[in-house]
């Protein structure tokens, strides 16, 4: 069984985002870069399948040289191969097209990724890759079982989960709850240093969207503190919510 895990490098969730001078991107200064948290669940699931079903796990990412950190970390966690598609594509369809074009003839049974890359937050590359390859998809998955050429996935929906059954190959995007990702072992980290990251040039299809502006969220109006004992505070809050905010 061959599994591909697509990884994205993103700013740490504790990072304060600032808009860059160009007014349409983020200021990279002081940004700590990490593997997108949802991608970690995808990678963990792939490594568990490798352990239970003798799968071969390849990780791929798009971007420049800095993305190698993410790939190296995945190798340390147990991925067998790592590929860097050198590209400055940022539009979801362009990224999906580059990934699908590369993956097309590689016979992956399973293509996994996080349900969204925290950052762009479009949550669209997974389903786009599935469509471009003409294969099944299950997104926001919290439970996955792989059968003989089939899969069974539970995915989060409003107020519960739904069970999806489908054929392999498939694109599966992971949600928190799918598993508990492991930490890299010292042996894994040392081993990863010796592995090569394959670099492929020229994967830069034209995009269909572009970000033309970026602003910080509007400042919230000044609030006020409600004083008194708990009963007075509760009464003051409910009257403010009723009379000022008109919520009730």
């Amino acid at each position: 069984m061959k599994i591909l895990v697509a990884l994205k490098q993103v700013p740490d969730t504790e990072t304060r985002i600032k808009v860059a001078a160009d007014g349409k991107s983020i200021d990279p200064a002081d940004v700590k870069w990490i593997t997108s948290p949802y991608d970690e669940y995808a990678l963990e699931e792939a490594i568990r399948l490798k352990e239970s079903k003798a799968a071969e796990v390849t990780v791929v990412s798009l971007g420049g040289d800095s993305v190698k950190d993410v790939l190296r970390n995945a190798l340390a966690l147990g991925a067998d191969n790592a590929v860097l598609l050198k590209s400055d594509a940022s539009d979801p369809l362009a990224i999906a097209t580059a990934l699908a074009a590369w993956a097309k003839d590689k016979n992956f049974d399973l293509i996994m990724a996080g349900n969204k890359g925290i950052g762009g937050d479009n949550a669209s590359v997974g389903p786009m890759v599935a469509e471009l390859l003409g294969i099944a998809q299950a997104n926001v998955v919290v439970k996955l079982e792989i059968g003989d050429g089939t899969f069974r996935a539970e995915r989060e929906i409003e107020g519960g989960t739904e069970v999806i059954e489908g054929k392999l190959p498939a694109v599966i995007t992971a949600q928190k709850g799918l598993n508990e990702p492991r930490y890299a072992s010292l042996k894994g980290i040392m081993g990863a240093k010796k592995k090569t990251i394959e670099e492929i040039d020229g994967a830069a299809p034209s995009g269909s969207t572009s970000i033309v502006g970026m602003v910080m969220p509007p400042a919230r109006p000044e609030g006020r503190k409600l004083d008194g004992d708990p009963a007075q505070q509760a009464a003051a809050l409910l009257s403010a919510l009723t009379d000022e905010a008109k919520i009730f």
Binding site: I17, A96, A130, G159, M216, G223, A234
Partner: protein, 323 residues
């Protein structure tokens, strides 16, 4: 034509669909286009409701094998409808289904996609979207270069406005019944309450709740206010048995309710990112220096274990849940 993919639940138009239709109507009026509502399923009784939100045409793609959701079959039916009607803009609510089917339909159409948008306009005949990025730490304006433009609208942001449309019914051919994947079963959580992303009021607990059992007082307050209970990452990761489905924040649900009541939540950056789009924020925290107070419309410095029960008692006395 601006086409809106619509969903029915128990035979009724879902609120996120009504919101997307209303926004579609506004964009159609601004750009001289017509508005179509598209329904895919085994039975689309209830689709006529789309006329109440301005649909000129109501398109149905109906077949017994579409009774269960299949991402590939639905995405193909949606893409086919766009092509058949020559639509240039495709919208839908950013629901579990909308976020699953519309990016796939966009890829089939070679169209650009903007997910979870909070603002839309037509610029030079093309859609332009404002959307939160980095879970709301910044807002980006997305312009499209593709001939067809696809976007999903974040629930609770656009207003569903009743406006009569012609609502002419038209049925479309359905896709073949050979699916790559299909929903076999729906496992409800059983609460029967609204999802966090659609909730109008959220009562949320953080590390200050001290344990999972204490969330019972938040459930009681939520019942008294007609609200849904959420949690911070700290509470979910603490091993208190709080489901990750309840997590609000950058690595959980990004929510924009009318009212968000944060109990024992200090206000970590990643949490604030997930809820700062709330219209009103109430913070209840013992620590007067907690960052959450900087966002709060109303701040209560105090012990949540004293304040929350008082709130519940007063809300019950006022009968707020029913309003």
């Amino acid at each position: 034509m601006i086409l809106v993919f619509c969903e029915l639940k128990d035979g009724k138009l879902r609120k996120p669909s009504a919101e997307a239709l209303s926004e579609g109507r506004r964009l159609a009026d601004a750009s001289g286009k017509s508005l179509g509502a598209l329904f895919v399923g085994a039975s689309n009784a209830g689709a006529t409701d789309a006329a109440n939100y301005g649909a000129d045409v109501i398109l149905t793609c109906e077949a017994p094998h579409l009774a269960s959701y299949s991402s590939d079959a639905f995405a193909h039916a949606i893409a086919d409808a766009v092509k058949t009607k020559g639509a240039t803009v495709l919208l839908g609510g950013a629901t579990a289904m909308g976020k699953d089917a519309l990016p796939r339909a966009a890829a089939r159409l070679g169209a650009g996609y903007a997910g979870d948008v909070t603002g839309l306009s037509m610029v030079d005949g093309k859609l332009q979207a404002v959307r939160p990025v980095y879970a709301g730490k910044a807002f980006a304006t997305t312009a499209f270069t593709s001939n067809i433009q696809v976007a999903t609208t974040r629930p609770n942001v656009f207003t569903a406005t009743e406006k009569a449309g012609a609502g002419a019914m038209e049925s479309l051919p359905s896709p073949a019944g050979d699916f790559l994947a299909i929903v076999k079963e729906i496992l409800a959580k059983g609460s029967g309450k609204a999802d966090l992303t659609e909730a109008n009021i959220i009562v949320s607990g953080g590390r200050g709740m001290k344990n999972g059992e204490n969330f019972a007082i938040l459930e009681e307050l939520a019942d008294a206010l007609g609200a849904v209970v959420g949690a911070s990452r700290a509470a979910v990761d603490a091993g208190w048995g709080i489901s990750h489905g309840m997590q609000v924040g950058q690595t959980g649900k990004v929510v924009s309710p009318t009212l968000y009541i944060a109990c024992g939540i200090s206000g970590a950056i990643q949490h604030i990112a997930g809820m700062s789009g709330s219209k009103y924020i109430v913070a209840i925290n013992k620590d007067p220096e907690a960052p959450i107070f900087k966002l709060a419309s109303y701040g209560i410095v105090g012990d949540l274990f004293e304040v929350v029960p008082e709130l519940t008692k007063a809300a019950k006395a006022m009968g707020l849940a029913a309003q």
